[in-house]
C-alpha cells in the first residue's frame, strides 16, 4: 500500500483530520477560557470592568500639557489630553501618548543602587537589570550625609526643565541653607534657543519674558527657523494655533512662510518654503522690513536702514523678486506675524536674527493684537520668567565640576552626558566631583556615571506640578498626581530630600519642615486659594486640593498676557552681518531635534517605530543630503558616510532628501545613546558630537553654525523606512538592487 499511498496524500489526509479536530474543539468555550485575578482588596471607587480616569501633567517635555489617563484595575491603559487645561485643550503629541511605555519600560531602575562609576546598569546582552543593592533607609542616610558633611558651596543640584515642584523644593532648600541654587537645563531648551529669544525681547522692548506668538489669530506668518509644529517651546499649543490659522470660521485662511535651509515638518505644512543660505536670516528679515516699509510709503525705520535687499538676495540665495513679493505679502496684510526660533537663532549672530525678526513685528504693529506678539502669562505665583540656563552657563557649570568646586552633585530629570555636546566634556568633568547622586528613573548615561542611583517614580506615579511657561493666554499651573501605584521599589525624590533633610537636622530640617511630598505640594498650592479669577475656588484646603487633582491643576480665567511696548524698537540698530561658521568643511551642518525622540524618547519603541514625518525613517539616524550633491559625491541612499567637523566625527547612512539645500546636511538629534535601555542603546549617532563650544551673544549654543566635511566609507547600512525602499526618486537604483 505504501507505494500507492504517497507521502503527500498522507499529509493531506492528516491535515484534514487535524483541521476538523481543531475546528470542532475551537468552537467550544474551552478555547476562550481565561484566568482572572480579582483584587485582594477592592478599592472603593472601582467597579469591575469600568475605567477610572485621573487628571495629571505630562512630563515628557517641559511644556506642561494636561493629561487624563485612563486606568483599569490599577493599570494605566491610555493617555489622552485634558480638555480642561487651557494649554493643550484636550490634545497630546506622540511623546505624551508614549508616556505609558516609560511607565512599563523593562529597563527602569527598580530600586536604590550603589555602584562603581561607568559600570553598566543592565546586562548588555540580556538587558537584565542590575539588582538594587541598597534599601531606602541607607539611601536616605547617604543623601543626608552628603548634605551634612559638605560645605554648602560644595553641593550642587542639576535638574531638568520638569517637574517644577521639585525644582522649587531644591530652590527652597538651597535658599535656606546656602547651598548652590539648583541649575536646570534641557537639550530641548538648548535647540530652541530660548535664551536668545527672551534676550532679544529684552533688548528691544526693555521687558524680560518669553514672547508668545498668536499664530491662530494671524493672517500671514513668517517663521524664521521656528519649528513650532515639532518641538519648539510648546508644540501642542502652537499646533492648535496653526489649526486656527488655517481653519478659523471668522477669517480667511492664513498663510505660513517658512525660512529654513531644510524642509522640516513645519516647513512642509507651509505655503512657501524658502531654503535660504544658513547664516543669512538677519539679512533677509531686515531686507523684507526695508522693502515692506518702502511699499507702505513710510519712512524707513532705523532698524532696517542698513539693509540692502539686493545684497541679501545674493547672499541668501533667494531671488530679489521673491523678496519683493514676500515684502508685499507682509506689508499688505493686516495680521502679519514673524517668528524667530530654533536653528536661525542657534548661530553666532542669533541675537541679531531674533532682534531683526521681532523688529518686523514692531513694523507690523501687531503687539497685543489678535495674531500678534505678546509676552507669555506668568504662571501662578510667578513674577518673572524662569528659564533654563543657557549652554554657556552650562559650560561654566561643567568647568566648576572639572575644577573640583563641587564635592557632591545631585542630578534629577536631565541626562547631560547625552544631552550636552561631547565637546562640553561633561562626562570627564564628573571625575572632578567627589560624589554623584542620580535620581534617574531610567538607566541613562548620566546615571551610569553616578555613584548612587536613587530612582524617582515615573511621572505617571508621581505628585507634582508644572508651571506653564508659554502657550495659553491664561496663567496656568498644571497639577500632577499618581495615576497608578508605583510598580517598583522607587521613591519620590522630593520625599527622599525631605527625609534626608530631617535626618541631617539643623538648618536642613528647618528648611523643609514637611511630613512628605504631598504636604510640601499643598503648602505651595494653598496660596492660590486666595487669588482672584480662579477657574474654581474653595473655602478650605482639602476641597481646593480635591479640585486641583480633579481638574488637573489651577488656572485663571482672565487673560494674563503682557503686551510688549514697542517703544523705539524700530530705532534699535540691528547688525546685518552674516553668521560666522566654525570648521573647515564645505557643507553647513543643520542638527535638528527629532519631534518624537528628542532627548528622552529613544527608549520607547512606539516612538522609535513612528516614521519621521518627512523621511519616514525609523529606528535609526540618517544624514539628509540633496540628491544633486549626493550624485556629485557619488553617494546613493544608505551609503554610510563619515561626517567630520572640528569637534568630532560621526558615521551615518545617507538619505537623499530633495527638500534640502545642496550645501547643507541635516542630521536629527535623538539617537546615539550609549545606555538608556535596550530600545535606545547602540542605535544611530548623536549629531551633537559634531558641535563645538561656540555661543551666540545671548549665551545659546551656536549649534547651527558648524561646517562639516563628508568622507565616504564604502559601507552600506540600509535604513528602515515606511516609504518604498526605492526612495523618493526610485530611478537610479537598478544596479545596486
Amino acid at each position: 500500500m505504501s507505494n500507492k499511498f504517497s507521502r503527500r496524500d498522507f499529509l493531506k489526509l492528516a491535515g484534514v483530520g487535524a483541521a476538523t479536530t481543531a475546528i470542532l474543539t475551537g468552537c467550544g468555550p474551552a478555547s476562550r477560557y481565561v484566568k482572572r485575578e480579582p483584587y485582594m482588596q477592592m478599592p472603593e471607587y472601582t467597579y469591575n470592568g469600568q475605567s477610572t480616569y485621573y487628571a495629571t501633567t505630562c512630563r515628557e517635555c517641559a511644556a506642561g500639557c494636561g493629561l487624563v489617563v485612563r486606568t483599569s484595575q490599577g493599570r494605566a491603559i491610555k493617555v489622552e489630553g485634558n480638555a480642561n487645561n487651557p494649554l493643550n485643550l484636550g490634545k497630546t503629541c506622540a511623546r505624551g501618548q508614549a508616556a505609558l511605555q516609560g511607565l512599563y519600560n523593562p529597563n527602569r531602575v527598580r530600586g536604590p543602587i550603589k555602584h562603581a562609576r561607568s559600570e553598566r546598569l543592565y546586562d548588555a546582552v540580556t538587558f537584565e537589570d542590575a539588582s538594587a543593592n541598597l534599601d531606602w533607609d541607607a539611601a536616605t542616610q547617604a543623601v543626608a550625609d552628603a548634605l551634612k558633611n559638605n560645605k554648602p558651596e560644595e553641593i550642587a543640584f542639576l535638574m531638568g526643565m520638569a517637574p517644577d515642584h521639585l525644582f522649587d523644593l531644591a530652590a527652597d532648600l538651597a535658599a535656606a541653607t546656602g547651598i548652590n541654587a539648583p541649575v536646570r537645563f534641557g537639550a530641548l531648551g538648548m535647540y530652541e534657543s530660548r535664551a536668545t529669544l527672551s534676550k532679544a525681547a529684552e533688548n528691544l522692548f526693555g521687558q524680560s519674558g518669553l514672547p508668545l506668538f498668536d499664530v491662530g489669530g494671524a493672517q500671514v506668518v513668517f517663521s524664521f527657523g521656528a519649528n513650532f509644529l515639532e518641538t519648539w517651546l510648546s508644540p501642542v499649543s502652537y499646533t492648535r494655533g496653526f489649526a486656527g490659522l488655517r481653519q478659523a470660521q471668522t477669517k480667511m485662511r492664513g498663510t505660513l512662510v517658512q525660512f529654513e535651509s531644510r524642509m522640516s515638518a513645519t516647513a512642509s505644512k507651509a505655503d512657501e518654503w524658502l531654503p535660504l543660505r544658513p547664516g543669512t536670516e538677519a539679512l533677509v528679515a531686515l531686507a523684507i522690513g526695508k522693502l515692506a516699509a518702502e511699499l507702505r510709503g513710510v519712512t524707513i525705520p532705523h532698524a532696517f536702514a542698513t539693509a540692502d535687499p539686493a545684497e541679501a538676495a545674493e547672499k541668501s540665495g533667494i531671488e530679489l523678486a521673491t523678496l519683493e513679493h514676500l515684502a508685499e505679502t507682509f506689508a499688505g496684510s493686516e495680521g502679519a506675524l514673524a517668528i524667530p526660533g530654533g536653528s536661525a537663532l542657534g548661530q553666532s549672530n542669533g541675537l541679531a536674527v531674533a532682534e531683526a525678526v521681532l523688529a518686523l513685528n514692531a513694523f507690523a504693529a501687531n503687539f497685543g493684537k489678535p495674531g500678534g506678539v505678546f509676552f507669555s502669562a506668568f504662571a501662578p505665583s510667578q513674577t518673572k520668567y524662569q528659564g533654563p540656563v543657557s549652554a554657556q552657563e552650562m559650560q561654566e557649570f561643567t568647568q566648576k565640576m572639572a575644577d573640583g568646586k563641587f564635592k557632591v552633585l545631585f542630578v534629577h530629570g536631565v541626562n547631560p552626558v547625552f544631552e550636552l555636546p561631547a565637546s562640553f566634556g561633561f562626562k570627564e568633568a564628573l571625575k572632578g566631583v567627589g560624589q554623584v547622586i542620580s535620581f534617574a528613573t531610567f538607566p541613562d548615561e548620566t546615571a551610569q556615571e553616578a555613584d548612587y542611583i536613587f530612582p524617582d517614580h515615573h511621572s505617571l506615579e508621581s505628585w507634582g506640578y508644572q508651571r506653564v511657561a508659554t502657550g495659553p493666554a491664561q496663567s496656568v499651573l498644571s497639577g500632577a498626581q499618581p495615576v497608578v501605584s508605583p510598580f517598583y521599589d522607587t521613591r519620590a525624590t522630593a520625599d527622599v530630600l525631605i527625609a534626608a533633610a530631617q535626618l541631617a537636622g539643623g538648618e536642613f530640617a528647618a528648611a523643609l519642615p514637611f511630613k512628605d511630598e504631598v504636604e510640601f505640594l499643598q503648602s505651595k498650592v494653598a496660596p492660590l486659594m486666595n487669588e482672584a479669577d480662579g477657574f474654581y475656588s474653595a473655602a478650605d484646603l482639602n476641597t481646593f486640593m480635591a479640585y486641583f487633582q480633579q481638574y488637573g491643576g489651577w488656572w485663571k480665567t482672565s487673560d494674563g498676557r503682557a503686551v510688549p511696548v514697542p517703544g523705539d524698537a524700530l530705532n534699535h540698530a540691528i547688525s546685518a552681518e552674516e553668521a560666522a561658521f566654525a570648521g573647515e568643511g564645505e557643507f553647513f551642518l543643520l542638527p535638528f531635534v527629532s519631534p518624537t525622540l528628542a532627548e528622552a524618547g529613544a527608549n520607547k519603541p512606539w516612538l522609535q517605530e513612528l516614521p519621521d514625518s518627512t523621511t519616514t525613517v525609523m529606528w535609526n539616524t540618517w544624514a539628509e543630503i540633496n540628491p544633486e550633491t549626493a550624485h556629485e559625491l557619488g553617494l546613493e541612499d544608505d551609503d554610510v558616510v563619515k561626517i567630520v567637523s572640528e569637534a568630532g566625527a560621526v558615521e551615518v547612512p545617507v538619505y537623499r532628501y530633495p527638500a534640502i539645500r545642496p550645501d547643507t546636511i541635516a542630521i536629527p538629534f535623538g539617537q546615539g545613546h550609549t545606555a538608556y535601555g535596550q530600545y535606545a542603546e547602540g542605535r544611530g549617532v548623536n549629531p551633537a558630537d559634531l558641535i563645538a563650544r561656540h555661543f551666540n551673544e545671548a549665551g545659546d549654543l551656536a549649534f547651527a553654525g558648524v561646517k562639516v566635511k563628508i568622507e565616504k566609507t564604502g559601507r552600506k547600512q540600509p535604513l528602515s523606512r515606511m516609504e518604498s525602499i526605492m526612495g523618493v526618486y526610485g530611478a537610479g537604483l537598478g544596479e545596486e538592487q
Binding site: 500500500m1 496524500d9 478555547s31 476562550r32 481565561v34 484566568k35 485582594m40 467597579y47 469591575n48 469600568q50
Partner: protein, 184 residues
C-alpha cells in the same frame, strides 16, 4: 493516485478501513467536543449551592452586575470578611487555597465560565435594570457547586430573548435587534 485509492476503498478490506477510520475520527471529535463542554478547573471548589442556601444574595458577591458591564469576581477581602470568622477555614483542605491566598497576598486565579466573545459588548446593568433575574441566564445556583454555564451563549439565544421581550412593541424590537446594540 487518488483514483486508485478510491478503487481500493471499494473493496471489502477498504470498506472496513473506511469504517474504522470514520469511527476513529468520530470518536476523536466527540471526545474533543465533550472536553470543551466540561467546566474548567477552578482554584477553589467553590460551592454556590451552600452559599445560596445561607441566604446570601447574588449581588452581595457580584455587585458589579447592578452597576456596570461586568458582574465581577469578589475580592479575597470580601471572602475573608466572613471566612475569618469561621474556624473551619483554617483547617479545611478545600478552603486551603483561600487561606493561602489571603495570608500570602496572592490573588486567586478564577476562570469565568459564562462568557461572550470580545466583539460582543455585554452589559449586566441593562439586563438587571430590565428586571431579568440572574438565574434566567446563569441557571439555578442552588443546584451547582462550581458554577457551570447552563446554555450556549450564542447570538440566537440572545436574540430569542430580545424579540420575546419586545413583543408587539415595534420601536423596542428595532432597538433590541439593532446590530449596534451589542456590536459597537
Amino acid at each position: 493516485m487518488i483514483k486508485r485509492l478510491f478503487d481500493w476503498l471499494k473493496q471489502p478490506l477498504g470498506m472496513i478501513a473506511v469504517g474504522i477510520a470514520f469511527l476513529a475520527l468520530f470518536s476523536l471529535a466527540a471526545y474533543g467536543i465533550s472536553l470543551t463542554q466540561q467546566p474548567p478547573a477552578q482554584p477553589v471548589q467553590f460551592t454556590h449551592k451552600l452559599h445560596v442556601s445561607f441566604g446570601i444574595q447574588c449581588l452581595y458577591c457580584h455587585p458589579g452586575a447592578a452597576k456596570g458591564p461586568a458582574a465581577g469576581i469578589p475580592s479575597q477581602e470580601k471572602c475573608w470578611g466572613c471566612h475569618n470568622q469561621i474556624q473551619k477555614t483554617m483547617t479545611s483542605e478545600l478552603l486551603k487555597p483561600l487561606k493561602d491566598s489571603v495570608l500570602s497576598g496572592t490573588p486567586l486565579q478564577w476562570v469565568p465560565v459564562a462568557q461572550v466573545p470580545d466583539f460582543v459588548q455585554f452589559n449586566h446593568r441593562a439586563h438587571v435594570a430590565a428586571g431579568k433575574n440572574c438565574e434566567e441566564c446563569h441557571g439555578d445556583m442552588t443546584q451547582v457547586t462550581i458554577a457551570e454555564n447552563p446554555q450556549v451563549m450564542n447570538m440566537g439565544w440572545c436574540l430569542n430573548c430580545h424579540t420575546e421581550t419586545a413583543g408587539e412593541n415595534h420601536e423596542l424590537l428595532v432597538k433590541l435587534t439593532d446590530c449596534g446594540t451589542c456590536h459597537y
